[in-house]
Structure formats: C-alpha cells, structure tokens
C-alpha cells in the first residue's frame, strides 16, 4: 500500500493525543499519587488537543474531494471510517463540557464527562485500527493485532507524554517518580510489535487463486498498461527488503527501547516522547509500505 504521509501523521499524532488525554484524565483522579496543579493539567490538555486536532486536519489532506467530507458522518452503521469520524467530532463537545464542569466545580458532572472522554478516546483508537483491520483484501492487516496495535500504541505514546507534561509543573512539587505506566506499556508495545512482525511471512493468497486455476504455474505475460495506473500507484508500493529490515529495527529502537530506557533511568521525558513519536511514525510508515493488497496478484505477484 502507498504510505500516505497525511494518514501516517494523523494516526500517530491523534493516537498520541488521545492517549495523553486518557492518562491526564486518569491522573487527575488520583491527586495523592500524581500531584498536578491546574495549570499543568491545562497545558497537557492543550498539547493533547493540538495533537488530536492536527491529526484530524491532516487526515483530510488525502481526500481528493473534501467538499463532500461532511457525508462521512452518515454511514456509521457499516463503516469503521464513518464511526471514527463521528466519534472524533463527538470528542469536542464532551471535552468542552468537561472543562466547563471543571471550571464551574460541578462534582456531579465531571466523573461522567471524564469517563465518557476516556471511553470515546479508546473507541476512536479502536475504530482507526478496525479501518485497516477489517479489510480482507490486505491479509497483512486482517488480524486482531491491527486494532490492538492502534489501541496500545496510542495509549503507550500518551503514557510517555504524561511525565513530560508533568515535568512542566512548578519545581516546588518535587521530582517525578519513575513513570511505571509508560514503562509497562512500552514493554507491552514492543512485545506486540515484535509479535506482529514475526507473524508476517504467512502466505494467504496465490496468483492461482486470483484466476481460479487450481494446478499449474501461472505467470503474467502482459499487464495491459505501459505506464503507472491508479492501481499500481495505490497498491504497487515495493519496499526493498534490506531497507525494511533497517527501518523495523529503527522503529523498535526509537519507538520502544530507547524511550523505555530513558523513562527507567533518566528524567529526559521530552526526549523519550519525541523519540517514541518518531519511532511510531516509522512503524506506521512500515505498516502501510509492507502491507500487500491482493490486487497485486493480478499484476503478476506470485503470492500475497
């Protein structure tokens, strides 16, 4: 699949923003464990909102006909993309209500809006994963690991961002302890990513299946076109094996291992966050670049 930068930025940026929002809200529930003044909370909320909004804006960049984007809210009964769009838009009024309730000090409203926001964030992450996970045409994606990855990586990058946000609080609050949630989620994330990569080499469809020929060897004599087509542009992306190997290790190192070490042994939480996001951008680029659509069989690829 063609790795579209707008979608890569959207999924990583929004994912991190939603994850940060979830952990900020949960942190605000336990003031005895995580001391956070109101200003730091709002700074964190602003960062989360900026990431989510920039991601959503970026996601519209790959639309060829943005005028009709409003109709994307109408088919939530069948389409994961529509569900994601609808829930993403629903996030804003609920977040506004939560902030209003916080400001006015309405203790009977804040728990409802808080958990509603957490549920929305998790649902959006799951929907984003299912957009790709539900496609039977891309065997690489059509696994439970795809939504699990989106959900876990969003929460993980948010958990790494939380101590970075906490480091903005005034000095008299004291140093930040070891961010155990970030450490645990980074370890889980690394495990899931490695599992996803190891599941890769499974062949699911052959060129014989594409033509309905049971036995014999099938090969393409002529694709019928002399230059690039929509199909070769969209589905024909080829990633050199050596380059993929380097990028996978870069993603594992920058996205998981280095942030894990930094969170464990240092207080460089901003460095850990930036590294984690860069690693996830590489991981997301690979997610698209390595996925193969079954239409490649009709263009002569022996198996997908």
């Amino acid at each position: 699949m063609k790795p579209a930068l707008s979608v890569i930025f959207f999924t990583v940026g929004s994912g991190a923003g939603l994850g940060l929002m979830v952990w900020l809200l949960i942190a605000s529930l336990m003031p005895s464990h995580i001391r956070m003044d109101a200003l730091t909370f709002y700074k964190g909320a602003a960062i989360a909102a900026a990431l989510i909004t920039a991601g959503l804006m970026s996601s519209t960049l790959h639309l060829a006909n943005r005028r009709n984007a409003i109709y994307a809210l109408t088919r939530w009964r069948t389409s994961w993309l529509s569900r994601e769009a609808l829930l993403s838009l629903a996030l804003y009024p609920v977040a506004a209500l939560h902030l209003y309730a916080l400001e006015r000090g309405l203790p009977q409203v804040t728990p409802i809006t808080l958990w509603l926001l957490v549920a929305l964030a998790l649902a959006i992450l799951f929907c984003t994963g299912m957009i790709y996970g539900c496609l039977k045409t891309v065997p690489r994606w059509n696994t439970w690991m795809t939504p699990a990855k989106y959900l876990l990586f969003g929460l993980m990058s948010g958990a790494v961002l939380l101590p970075a946000v906490l480091s903005l609080r005034p000095a008299e609050v004291g140093p930040i302890g070891r961010p155990m949630m970030a450490v645990v989620l980074l370890a889980l994330g690394a495990a899931l990513y490695v599992a996803y990569l190891m599941k890769h080499p499974r062949t699911t469809h052959r060129i014989n299946d594409a033509l309905g020929v049971r036995a014999g060897r099938v090969r393409l004599l002529d694709a019928g076109h002399s230059h690039a087509t929509f199909l070769t542009d969209e589905f024909g992306f080829v990633l050199a094996r050596e380059r993929a190997r380097v990028l996978r290790w870069a993603a594992i190192a920058a996205g998981f291992v280095l942030p894990l070490l930094l969170c464990c042994f240092t207080q460089w939480f901003w460095t850990a966050s930036v590294l984690c996001l860069i690693g996830l951008l590489v991981e997301r680029w690979l997610f698209f670049a390595e996925a193969e659509h079954v239409v490649r069989l009709y263009h002569g690829q022996p198996h997908v």
Binding site: M1, H62, L63, A64, N65, R66, R67, N68, A69, Y71, A72, L73, T74, R75, T78, S79, W80, L81, S82, A85, I131, C134, L135, K136, T137, V138, H205, D209, A210, L211, G212, V213, R214, A215, G216, R217, V218, R219, L220, L221, D222, A223, G224, H225, S226, H227, A228, T229, F230, L231, E234, F235, H293, V294, V295, L297, Y298, H299
Partner: protein
C-alpha cells in the same frame, strides 16, 4: 434481478476492444467520466473501468494432458501452456464490501438489479472503497476527485430510445469474439445463467467470500492433436528425407 456479465476465458482473444469501447462510452457518459491524463505525453495515464491482462498457465493437467513441466516428456511431446486473457471490471459482488466500508454512502448497490454504483455528489475521494475491492475494479477520477467504476452501462441498458439489441453494455457490443454476454443471473433461462450452468465458473479469490455476480467461464480443455510424423524416424525415412533434400537443393 441480478445483472452481470459472463466472460468466456476460452474465447477471449485479449484484443482490449471491450476496454476501449468502455472508455469511449463512459468517457463522457451521464454516470461515468473516465478521463485520460497526459494522454499524448511522456507518461500517459487514465481512469479505466475495465482492464485486460494476459496470463500463461503452464503445467495444469486440465490443459496439458501429458507430462507437465518445462521439459518435453518421454514421447518428445512439449508440455502445453495455455494463454488466458482476463478482462477485469467490477464484479457487482453480492457481498460488496466496497459499499459497506464507504463512509459517505456514495457507494451503493441497487436493490432492483444488483448494480454497484458511486454517487459522485457524495463521494469524498478517500479511496477506501478501492482498498476494499480485491479485483482492482475501482479507480479514482483525478479530475473530479471522486471514485469511478464500471456502471454496467446503466445509462444504456435501460435507455428505451436505443434499439433493443443495443441495450447492452458497450463492452459486450464491442467484443469481436462474443466472449462477453450480458444478462440476469437470477433468471435461469437467461443466456448468462445457461452458460454458467453448462460450463461452470472460475472461483476468483473465492476465499475472500465477496460472491461476485460476474462469471468467468473457464477455458476449455484443448483438443490434443497427434503428431503427424513419427518422432523417431527409421532408416528408410531418413534415406527418403535425405534424397528429398538432395532433389530440392
């Protein structure tokens, strides 16, 4: 009603007339619009609803009755390979996943005749439906920014101003080998249903369970032609051949 095409892989000669006729009709039709990009330039491209590809099948016992593989068998007979031309356009699937994933409702499958269409007034050009299609039947119209696909010439087949014989998709009318037949798969007496009943249909990516309406009739088993000359010539034949060559010098 379940309208669709039966495409005969045995008689298709791979001439691309169907693809060209499709471009010609849909280039400026009511539902269509299949533009070319840089048509006379260095890297011409375009949106096509129907593309023809050519494959070689080698070593399938259905088509190659004797020993298979790249080398001749013990009788000196060459393995038969089969060239198959495969025109591919929208299959108007029963389980049209392209329709269910569409977030805007621009893609729809008509209840009355099963034709899958795109409403350009709703499509936002996200390409998601083309990802959901295993057959590569959907291509983006880069001029309008909306998805395009085979309409089964819905603007021809119901047009009562056309003579009845011409109320068929343009590709079907153009096919010089009569390899494309149009009809209703729900009607067991229709020519498409009868062909499928007689010949069966190729199971193309059946594991994905999209249940295509269009049927590809499998290539027929070739008639084996016995070699007219004995392969190992005796001394007399070799002498005669030598004399013949001498005479014809």
């Amino acid at each position: 009603m379940r309208l669709g095409l039966a495409i005969d892989l045995d008689t298709c000669v791979g001439c691309h007339a169907c693809a060209v006729a499709c471009k010609e009709w849909n280039g400026r039709s009511l539902m269509g619009g299949a533009p070319d990009y840089d048509a006379y330039g260095a890297a011409p491209g375009g949106t096509w609803y129907n593309r023809v590809r050519h494959y070689e099948i080698e070593g399938d016992p259905t088509y190659s009755p004797h020993a298979c593989g790249a080398l001749p068998d013990t009788d000196g007979l060459q393995p038969l390979s089969k060239t198959v031309n495969v025109p591919l356009s929208c299959m108007h699937c029963e389980e049209a996943h392209c329709v269910s994933v569409c977030p805007t409702g621009a893609s729809y499958k008509r209840a009355e005749d099963g034709i899958v269409l795109v409403d350009p007034a709703r499509c936002m050009g996200c390409n998601y439906c083309s990802w959901a299609c295993p057959y590569g039947a959907r291509e983006l119209d880069q001029d309008e920014g909306v998805m395009k696909k085979c309409t089964l010439c819905v603007d021809r087949i119901y047009d009562e101003r056309l003579p009845e014989a011409e109320r068929q998709p343009a590709c079907v009318l153009a096919c010089p080998a009569h390899a494309r037949i149009f009809g209703d798969f729900d009607d067991p007496a229709s020519p498409v249903s009868q062909r499928v009943a007689a010949r069966g249909r190729q199971d193309m990516l059946g594991a994905l369970d999209y249940r295509p309406t269009n049927a590809y009739l499998p290539p027929r088993k070739p008639v084996e032609i016995a070699p007219t000359l004995p392969l190992r010539q005796g001394l007399t034949e070799q002498a005669k051949a030598f004399v013949n060559r001498l005479i014809n010098l």
